[in-house]
């Protein structure tokens, strides 16, 4: 990094590694897939142009940037009609559409801060320390949010399995 700017090749590498997760994360925060994808592209283009500098922990920075951008997105479109929540932002080699939607639904029903923690840990590949940094919370808070989130997810997914 020169003057904190990430080399072009590193940005492309970061994109290949995190873009899908970041897009799904934006979707989990209420964005449609196309808008989420555009948002992530714009973020990486800014990185390439050196208009934003990620610092020492690029992944944490990226998720924080997407989090803020999705907040702005929702704020700007709060008066618009919400899109039907049927869009898939996950894939699974064996699960059908209904199961994927069920997992998405279970995630969407979590309190926002718990959903963020689960997302960053499982699909962002961030450690709890990095999550704490990305969301600007103490490490213990991040750990407890993650634990509560898993409990709720287990309950919701078990209820769904029982119904089937």
């Amino acid at each position: 990094m020169v003057d904190g700017r990430v080399p072009r090749e590193s940005v492309i590498e970061l994109y290949q590694r995190h873009a899908a997760g970041l897009t799904a994360y934006a979707c989990s925060r209420g964005m449609d897939f196309a808008s989420a994808q555009d948002l992530v592209q714009q973020l990486f283009l800014k990185l390439i142009e050196g208009r934003v500098v990620p610092g020492e922990a690029p992944a944490s920075y990226l998720y924080r940037a997407v989090r803020n951008a999705s907040l702005n997105f929702r704020r700007d479109r709060r008066h618009e009609t919400e899109l039907p929540d049927e869009e898939l932002w996950f894939t699974h080699p064996a699960a059908d559409r209904a199961e994927i939607l069920a997992v998405q639904q279970a995630l969407a029903e979590l309190p926002e801060e718990q959903r963020d923690t689960v997302f960053l840990k499982i699909w962002g590949g961030l450690t709890l320390e990095e999550i704490a940094d990305a969301v600007s919370i103490p490490l213990n808070t991040a750990a407890s949010r993650y634990r509560y989130a898993l409990e709720k997810l287990r309950e919701r997914l078990a209820v769904r399995s029982a119904k089937e």
Binding site: A24, V40, Q41, H92, V118
Partner: protein, 123 residues
């Protein structure tokens, strides 16, 4: 799903949907090229305009103003006309002589060896 690890494993089997590759437009990759090109064009245009405005041009050379001593000439004319009119009224013969002298001075000579009339006569 009895424990957290099992749940984590289950959840991680769901992969985020693939996204399109990062598209870096050429103009974005070299964002400085356009402003630099625009600045260069402006500089060349400004330089050209300055050079053009300072360049001496044939069609711009204005001839020195024609100084016509109109007052003096008109005075002379006035005098000669006045004098001739007076002469014509007072002394008809002298007026005729004066006219003859004026015509010889003003009109082309036909009596000289190289006069137009002589040349025509020779031919």
């Amino acid at each position: 799903m009895k424990d957290d690890e099992e749940l984590e494993r289950y959840l991680s089997e769901f992969r985020p949907r693939a996204v399109r590759p990062l598209v870096v437009p050429a103009s974005r990759a070299r964002a400085w090229v356009k402003p630099m090109a625009a600045a260069a064009v402006l500089l060349v245009c400004a330089g050209g305009a300055v050079w053009y405005s300072r360049m001496p041009r044939a069609d711009r050379i204005t001839p020195p103003p024609l100084v016509v001593d109109s007052d003096a000439k008109s005075d002379t004319d006035m005098l000669s006309w006045f004098a001739l009119t007076r002469l014509a009224l007072e002394d008809d013969r002298k007026f005729e002589m004066e006219l003859e002298q004026e015509s010889r001075a003003e009109l082309p000579a036909f009596t000289g060896p190289d006069s137009g009339l002589h040349i025509l006569a020779r031919e």
